[in-house]
């Protein structure tokens, strides 16, 4: 249970970064932390203490297996997160070229 609460705490740290920070780069870092917390949470769902991979072998009885499906899913999710972070950083670089600042309170052309 403690592990899950720590995971929630990590997620909240990321969410704080996204919601409260003014610097675009810090927002992106907040995103990355949020992604780590999500992936950690999902992969922990399939974890078992002293578990092993569910591969059948001769003369061996596999009793205590970890669930490997969340590992696959988190693998996919990490790749998606990589793509998203790359896109966000590309947008951030372009914004710096156009506006000369990373501060989102100073970039306010769109209104209404």
């Amino acid at each position: 249970m403690t592990l899950y609460l720590l995971c929630l705490f990590l997620f909240c740290v990321g969410l704080y970064g996204v919601l409260r920070k003014r610097n675009i780069v810090k927002i992106i870092v907040g995103f990355a932390i949020m992604g780590y917390a999500m992936n950690l949470f999902f992969v922990m769902l399939g974890y078992k203490m002293h578990g092993r991979s569910p591969i059948a072998a001769i003369d061996q009885q596999v009793t205590n297996m970890v669930d490997t499906v969340p590992q696959e899913l988190v693998h996919t999710s990490i790749v998606i997160g990589l793509g998203l972070t790359a896109l966000l950083i590309a947008i951030a670089i372009k914004i710096y070229e156009k506006c000369g600042t990373f501060d989102i309170t100073k970039i306010k052309r769109l209104k209404g």
């Binding site: 969410l15 996204v18 675009i24 927002i27 995103f31 949020m34 992604g35 999500m38 949470f41 999902f42 769902l45 669930d67 499906v69 969340p70 899913l73 996919t76 999710s77 998606i80 793509g83 998203l84 896109l87 966000l88 947008i91 951030a92 372009k94 914004i95 156009k98 506006c99 970039i107 052309r109 769109l110 209404g112």
Partner: protein, 503 residues
Amino acid sequence: MNNSFIAALFVIVPVSTAFLISLLARFARRGYLYALSVFSSGSILLISFYALGVLPKSVNNILVYNIGGLASPFGISLVLDGLSVFMLVVVNLAAFFVSIYNIGYVDKHDDAPKFLTLFFMMLTGLNGVVITGDLFNLFVFLEVASIAGYALVCFRGGAEELEAAFKYAVMGSTGSAFIFIGIAFLYSFTSTLNMADMSRIIAMKEGIFVVPFVTVLFIMGFGLKAALAPFHAWLPDAHTSAPASISAMFSGVLIKALGVYTLARILFNVLGTTQALLSALTVLGAISILVSGVLAVLQWNMKRLFAYSSIGQIGYIFLGLGLGTPWGVFGAVFHIFQHSVAKSLLFLTAGSVDKSAHERDLREMSGLKEKMPVTAWASMIASMSLAGIPPLGAFFSKLIIIIACIQAGFYFYAFIAVIGSILTLAAMAKMQKFAFLGELREKFKNVKEASFAMRISIACLAGICVFGGLLLLPQLKPFIGNAAGVLLEGTKYSGLVLGAATK
């Protein structure tokens, strides 16, 4: 003969087109790339009509394709049922006309191959979300469509576009994070990812917290993608900044496929609905209608006015879904079709005006009807349809939703729906008066009508908009009726899909 492999084509065709276009970009001339894009989006449209034809002949009206031959609850399965086929027709109809429009719209300065590649990746995601029967696969396709969408918003690369894209990316991926956590909870609760199997297990198990908690996470996540009222802040900026053909795709199909369809599918067919949940949807829908109606009237930027009006129309769809009665759901599904056609058309006409007259501010425009008759007429038809003028398409869908409200005894919601319609009429009348009617200004003397491809696409969409009401004829009614029927049968969905998968 087993036809279920056609389900896979909806993903294979657009994704291979995207790769072919980016491969051929070096060698082929632009004309061939446009021809390829029109050909492939046209062929997906034909395949979706074919799917519409073969569906009634299959078991339980459902086609299930198991990827890699793994049996249904274990492998990833693609499910084609009444609602999926309806959404596929809506998505690919808009995509086909938008790719015709692209021929005239994309500038010489724009990097056309990259634009088309991203466009087809977005189409892959949209089709994938609609046909998949696996919850995590749905998340992956959702992210494919969203990330392509973020990149397309800032395609022109100006400061405003970048700001809108960053805002959209931050809000959209926060929504995705909530969806991901919801999927994690559901997986730990049911130990399966297949949506039909998950629905079966949820019905058997007794969970006090998990299902309501996940429902709230999904309403936040998918509501953000659908731009439902408290989560709508990204939509006006993103729609205003994107190139017009992409705004048409966004407003016409992206918010519906990624937001409305997914939310309706998961809430109605997988998790099961409760009265409290349905009334939450109705309240959110009613707030959307009122807030966006008032804000739309106040706008002076043409595309921003349409964007706010989109939020209101999404409100109508959620109002209909939230009633949960046969008429309400039927009206909501019908409104998805009508709004998709009319709003795509409006954004395309805004794009022609922007391209020919280089103007988006309504105060600076006047009398463009004289110079751009086709665009002006099409815009007039689409705005009258959305405002609910009788013989046109969206009148019928709004009327059905209002009748459903009265039947269910919600007179207040019926009143709000009527008020919303009047506000839409006001916004559209303002747009028509300032943009197309009145006297032609001096600086617009040399404005030319949009190019041939753009006019063809606009005129065809206007035709569909005029004759959209004919879908209520008894011969054509199953198109909408089957889609609404899938939502109304609720969690029986799991038995039907698993039954169809084993045959």
